[in-house]
């Protein structure tokens, strides 16, 4: 088990650093940071000075190694745009994004699991069909548009929630719903097929023949087994929530990492963008690692096989 976890962890780290390398190369090829600092119309001389001052005259791979050794020492670089250490910018905002991501996950669970179970238990009835239609439609709704519609409905026409900001829990209700809704279709489908499979299995038939039925059967035998694969999918979805925060935070003016990402891109602030891409990738691989470990812990066939 330990070897398995170590192997997976090493792979995850390798992936995160590959991603950071790819992002570094792509960003620096796409734009010249010296122009981003000085402005498009700056003197060639000024540009040259900036290049030397920020070390941009070095070859790309030297700059990447510099960045990498900085990250390993906990030095995330300094933002051109905010004139602050990137670490400080991230630290100020990470809590907000995590709050949003976990509330979104809660919304996903609260909608997708009951809906999936309901659809499975009423397979091929109108309930099942409505649930599947909801899933198909939810996949086609642009996330940012859903956010704006909810603002119009529940912040303007019925002023229940604030339009934007991040001061109270009320500010997080609509954003969490928007961010959580995007994960409902896959989780719901998984719950539905999982429960249908479990309900058709031999041990459920055995339990039924021994006189179990109704809620006891459903909760003690069926749901527990159907939920197993969902746990690891939820971990992956949580990783995606952090990446998906860009749109939601921008719509609702929430000062988290996602909004920071958009602002840094618009300000051509490469050190911040680079660090955020690395962080988001790191969260994603960490969540996948967690999913792998959970899978192995719950299913002995994986860790032995």
């Amino acid at each position: 088990m330990l070897t398995y976890i170590l192997q997976r962890a090493a792979l995850a780290l390798a992936v995160a650093f590959t991603v950071s390398l790819a992002a570094f190369m792509l960003l620096n090829i796409a734009t010249d940071p010296a122009y981003a600092i000085a402005g498009e119309e700056a003197d060639p001389e000024v540009i040259e000075q900036i290049r030397i001052r920020y070390g941009l005259d070095q070859p790309l791979w030297v700059r990447y190694l510099d960045w990498l050794s900085g990250v390993l020492r906990g030095d995330f670089g300094v933002s051109y745009y905010w004139n602050k250490p990137v670490a400080e910018l991230v630290a100020e905002r990470v809590g907000t994004t995590l709050t949003l991501a976990f509330s979104a996950l809660f919304v996903t669970i609260a909608i997708a699991i009951p809906l999936g179970a309901l659809a499975a238990l009423n397979r091929n009835t109108w309930i099942d069909r409505i649930a599947l239609w909801l899933a198909v439609s939810a996949q086609a709704v642009p996330n940012f548009w859903l956010g704006l519609i909810l603002i119009i409905l529940f912040a303007v026409m019925l002023p229940i929630f604030p339009v934007s900001g991040d001061n109270t829990w009320k500010h997080f209700v609509l954003p969490a719903f928007v961010l959580g809704a995007s994960s409902v279709p896959p989780v719901m489908r998984l719950m539905r097929t999982g429960l249908i499979e479990v309900m058709g299995s031999d041990y459920i038939r055995t339990a039924r023949s021994k006189g179990y039925g109704g809620a006891a059967l459903l909760i003690r035998h069926a749901l527990r087994n159907a939920l197993l694969p969902i746990v690891s999918v939820l971990a992956v979805q949580l990783g995606q929530k952090v990446g998906g925060s860009v749109i939601t935070e921008s719509i609702f003016a929430i000062n988290g990492l996602g909004r920071l990402a958009l602002q840094s891109i618009l300000g051509a602030d490469i050190p911040t963008v680079q660090m955020l891409i690395f962080l988001f990738a790191l969260v994603f691989v960490a969540m996948n690692l967690l999913a792998d470990i959970l899978n192995a812990a719950l299913d002995p066939r994986i860790r032995i096989g």
Binding site: L11, A14, V15, A16, T18, V19, A22, A23, L26, L27, A30, T31, V136, S137, Q139, A140, V141, P142, N143, F144, W145, L148, I149, I151, I152, V156, R189, T193, G243, G244, V246, I247, S250, A261, L262, I265, L266, A268, V273, L276, I277, F280, A281, F284, V285, N288
Partner: protein, 304 residues
């Protein structure tokens, strides 16, 4: 469903009446699949709208008119039939902009999905066919690509390179190939183990010939299914980029950009945001329904 899933193995036994061919079976299933019909209908209609946009649009989508700014749609007080869906902040006809927006969305959807297809299918077939270190390398690439925060990187790259339709197509395409890869890799691994591949190899066919003449034709239905879904995904990705201000730039009529422009006035004129979103929703649901339908028709045993 049982009567539709006759396997080709049974069909090869001598019978008095020839059983329906797989193609005929697929056509029968297509006739009965309502989701497929609705989705294909929507897509066909919107593709026609995109092709004939200049003839369908009542006005020039870029023509501004300061005297007729922010007119409401015809069903709201103050609306008129000259501008059936009203006008935007600079007096451009909203219906004409929505109609021309189909061009932007559909061309980006098709273009980006094609790039994704080329990358994903190439890698998938190579990994599935050759296995070994090729497969390991491709798997690592896949894991890395999945870990990339796609939207964030797309935003940064499009904005830094310089937003234009071509750049948006290329960046979205280059970042959306994993689905093609996963499916074609697994399918190629399966096909490679079948007898007709061994037969082809025994008759002296090279790897290149086997891939082109034996494997790719057998992957085509799966590839078409994914392509349909990816068109929808790419359309939503473009809309998100344009909405955030790092995609298609004004004055090009992109639905995502129109939503961003309408956002400023949405509290009093919600239709500015509602209408382009509805167009996006209908187009993407059309693609998804068609994809779902094609999957059910091509491989009914996988029907969920």
């Amino acid at each position: 469903m049982s009567d539709m899933t006759q396997s080709p193995l049974i069909a090869s036994e001598p019978e008095e009446k020839l059983p329906p061919s797989p193609g005929q079976l697929a056509r029968t299933r297509a006739w009965k699949h309502r989701g497929f019909q609705v989705g294909t209908g929507i897509l066909l209609l919107l593709v026609l709208v995109a092709i004939f946009a200049p003839f369908l649009a009542p006005h020039d989508p870029l023509a501004q008119s300061l005297s007729s700014r922010l007119l409401p749609p015809v069903w709201v007080d103050g609306g008129n039939w000259v501008h059936p869906l009203g006008t935007d902040q600079v007096g451009r006809d909203y219906l004409s902009r929505l109609i021309h927006g189909t061009r932007v969305s559909i061309s980006i959807g098709l273009g980006a999905a094609t790039i994704g297809l080329l990358i994903g299918v190439t890698l998938g077939v190579l990994a599935g066919y050759f296995g070994g270190w090729v497969d390991h390398a491709v798997s690592f690439l896949l894991t890395a690509q999945l870990a990339l925060p796609g939207l964030l990187l797309a935003m940064a790259l499009v904005f830094f390179i310089g937003p234009s339709v071509i750049v948006v197509i290329c960046i979205i395409g280059v970042l959306h190939w994993t689905y093609f890869l996963v499916v074609t890799r697994a399918a190629t691994q399966h096909i490679r183990s079948l007898d007709f591949i061994a037969a082809a190899r025994a008759s002296g066919a090279t790897s290149r010939q086997i891939i082109w003449h034996e494997i790719l034709p057998n992957l085509s239905s799966k590839i078409i299914v994914i392509f349909t879904f990816e068109v929808g995904i790419a359309i939503l990705a473009e809309a998100s980029l344009s909405f955030l201000g790092v995609g298609i730039q004004a004055p090009t009529p992109s639905w995502g950009l129109m939503i961003a422009e309408g956002k400023e006035a949405m509290f009093y004129r919600p239709w500015l945001v509602v209408l382009p979103g509805m167009f996006l929703f209908v187009l993407v649901i059309g693609a998804n329904l068609m994809g779902d339908g094609l999957r059910d028709i091509a491989s009914p045993e996988e029907k969920g």
